[in-house]
Symmetry: C2
Subunit: 217 residues, 2 copies
């Protein structure tokens, strides 16, 4: 049985659990809350003091996208097929890696700022700098204008099939839709269709309100 150390409502914990559900791999969630991220016990698991962490028997890994890629490689024959191209499909590998890198470089830093400067501020009932809010909205809109053009030509970011690159966006897009401004996504025809296709997936429905251990585990 795989064990994930994480926090049920964290985006990165959801990213890993989502892929485990896609690949039909059961897992046990051990909750590590924000107050314990920097504890000596957790630093032994994750030296940067973050979540999630995977243990697969003696094998140990952190960084959510890396865990997802490991799960996908190891369980290639289970669940949703072809979430990443085969290594000898060089053009496919390039397009897939480009889509993964766009998520990481264009999109994740903005969502990180959104979390710190808007969502957490609102949770703490602290004032949000309206200039920051407007600037973040404008930046996200500019990125999604490009996404909309990409998704006009193909159903998913790496081509016509869903891949890890699309799924990696799900926790982040969910924050934008439910905690910031749903129009950024829903007003753009092709982005809206992509988001609906992704957010209707059984894997996402299983984790979106909080990750739990797989029922069988």
């Amino acid at each position: 049985m795989l064990t994930i150390y994480g926090f049920p409502i964290s985006s990165c914990t959801k990213r890993v659990a989502l892929i485990l559900h896609e690949k039909l791999v059961p897992f046990r969630l051990v909750t590590v809350g924000p107050q314990d991220f920097k504890s000596p016990e957790h630093i032994k698991r994750q030296p940067f003091g973050q979540i999630p962490v995977l243990y697969d028997d003696d094998y140990h890994l952190y960084e959510s996208r890396a865990i997802a890629r490991y799960i996908n490689a190891k369980h290639a024959d289970k669940g949703t097929p072809n979430l990443a191209p085969l290594a000898d499909d060089h053009h496919g590998v390039g397009k897939f890696e480009m889509a993964c890198s766009i998520e990481y470089s264009q999109f994740a830093p903005l969502v990180d700022r959104l979390m710190k400067e808007v969502i957490f501020q609102e949770l703490r009932q602290q004032p949000v700098d309206e200039a920051v809010r407007a600037s973040l909205k404008a930046s996200l809109e500019a990125k999604f204008d490009v996404y909309n053009n990409i998704l006009k030509e193909q159903d998913y970011l790496a081509g016509d099939n869903v891949s890890l690159a699309d799924l990696f966006h799900l926790p982040e897009c969910d924050l934008i839709v439910h905690k910031f401004d749903r129009d950024i996504i829903e007003s753009r025809e092709h982005v809206a269709k992509w988001w609906k296709n992704l957010s209707d997936r059984a894997s996402w429905l299983a984790v979106k309100d909080g990750v739990q251990s797989t029922p069988s585990s």
Copy 2:
């Protein structure tokens, strides 16, 4: 002949050229300067208005790390071998992806802030916020403390062999050493040795002062 659209002293252009040198793949550099990043002509190549961009005949790709992974996959039999593990080495894939993700999530955002808030300010002879400088230094030191512990156990970030994950750091570490504070890297025994091994590579010596088309091209 491969064509790279980029800017000779940009970190991301250097990242791609470095891997092309490692894999002994000749290329032609077409310079696109900062004044042209958002031009209509360049937006057709890179819709986010950034560099570098690769053209390999009709095939077209952007995002430096994705280009590097494509080059490595397509030219597996050339130049430095084993810059990424084979797909069926699941444990190797996981450790490699973890190292790549650490570079992207822990390290690149700090270097991005360093560029914007310190290096560019100094280039423009604008004042640098000393609190920002100190906070960036402390954050980089904390990350390199973890790197030092990792590199105490193994020579490179994904194991005992050099990989793309190490090479991806080269342009960023060069900025830290030459434009910010070399002690952050050089005062940490295992990080210093890792940096020396990487920065002595012929591939880096060929691109560090500015990328040029391969002599034969």
